[in-house]
Symmetry: D3
Subunit: 61 residues, 6 copies
Amino acid sequence: MPIIQVEMLKGRTIEQKREMVKEITEVISRTANCPKEAVRIVIREMEFENFGINGELRCDI
Amino acid sequence: MPIIQVEMLKGRTIEQKREMVKEITEVISRTANCPKEAVRIVIREMEFENFGINGELRCDI
Amino acid sequence: MPIIQVEMLKGRTIEQKREMVKEITEVISRTANCPKEAVRIVIREMEFENFGINGELRCDI
Amino acid sequence: MPIIQVEMLKGRTIEQKREMVKEITEVISRTANCPKEAVRIVIREMEFENFGINGELRCDI
Amino acid sequence: MPIIQVEMLKGRTIEQKREMVKEITEVISRTANCPKEAVRIVIREMEFENFGINGELRCDI
Amino acid sequence: MPIIQVEMLKGRTIEQKREMVKEITEVISRTANCPKEAVRIVIREMEFENFGINGELRCDI
C-alpha cells in the first residue's frame, strides 16, 4: 500500500502528469512488489514564490 | 500535541469540514489521551488531476 | 480516497492505535462521504527530542 | 540535504517569505552543518477553512 | 526540483530501494523535464502497527 | 500556527537539534508575525539508505 507524494513547481500539463503517474505506479509496483491498484500518488504543485533553495525564493532566481 | 493531516479530493463543504475537524479532534483527544486544544488538523484538498490510483489520474476515471 | 496522517509523540499502545484508526476511519467515511475501505491512515511516532514547541525540545520540558 | 516544510495560514507577503527562506536556510546550514545550497524549503499556505484547532475551523474563530 | 516521498510498509531490501530510487528518478526527470540531479527522494518505512486501512491496523489483518 | 517539518539525515546531536528548534522558532515568529508558542517543529531523521539523490541511494555515495 505505498503512498507516493510528488512535490514540484507548477507548470506541468495533464499529459505530463498522466505519464508520470502511469510510470511511477509501474516502478513502485515492480520494485516494492505490490499490485498496481494499491499504489496511491498525490501530486502537489508549488507556486514559484513558495519554494526556496540556497536561501532564495525560486521566483527571484 | 498530535498533528493530523487529511488529504482528500476537492469538493467538500465547509459544513463537512467543520464536522470532520470537530469529531477527529474528539477521537484523537480520547484515544491519544491529550487535551483537545493540543490537536492541530490540516486539510489539504487535491485537484482531480493531481491524484493517481492504479496508474491513472483520478480525472480520467 | 482520503489519506490521513497522524503525527504524535511515542508511547501509545497498539490498543490505542487500533481504537484511533477504527474511529477516525468512521468519522472520515461519514463526513467526507466515502467508503471506509478507501481510507488510509498513517501513524508517525516522534521521539521526544524530535519535537519542538515554543522554541524548546519536548524532551527538555 | 535537509528538506524543510513550512505550513502556515495564507496572507504573508513575498517579502515575508523571502526573509523567512533566507534566515531559515542560514539556521539550518549552521546548526545541521551543511552547505546552504543543499537546503530546500517548501512553503504551504492553508485557507482558514482548512485548519482546525481545538476542534474548530480557524475561519470560525 | 521535485521532491518525492515514498511511504510504505517495512521489509524491502536495500537492493529494492536502490532500484526504486534509480527508476523513479528517471521517470520524474523525463516526465517533469528536469535534470536527474535535481530529484530528491525520501523513503519512509512504516511499522505494520502504524498503518490503517478500512478501519483496521495492518498488523491485525 | 505554523507547523515546520525538518527532514534530514541521521546523526545530529540533541544539542544541534536544541539550537535548531530555538532559532527556527525565532525566525518563524518574527517573519510570519506570530507568537513563539504557536510554532510547532517536527524533526524527521532519515537513514542513509532511505534518501535518494540523482538516482542513487545516499548510502552508496
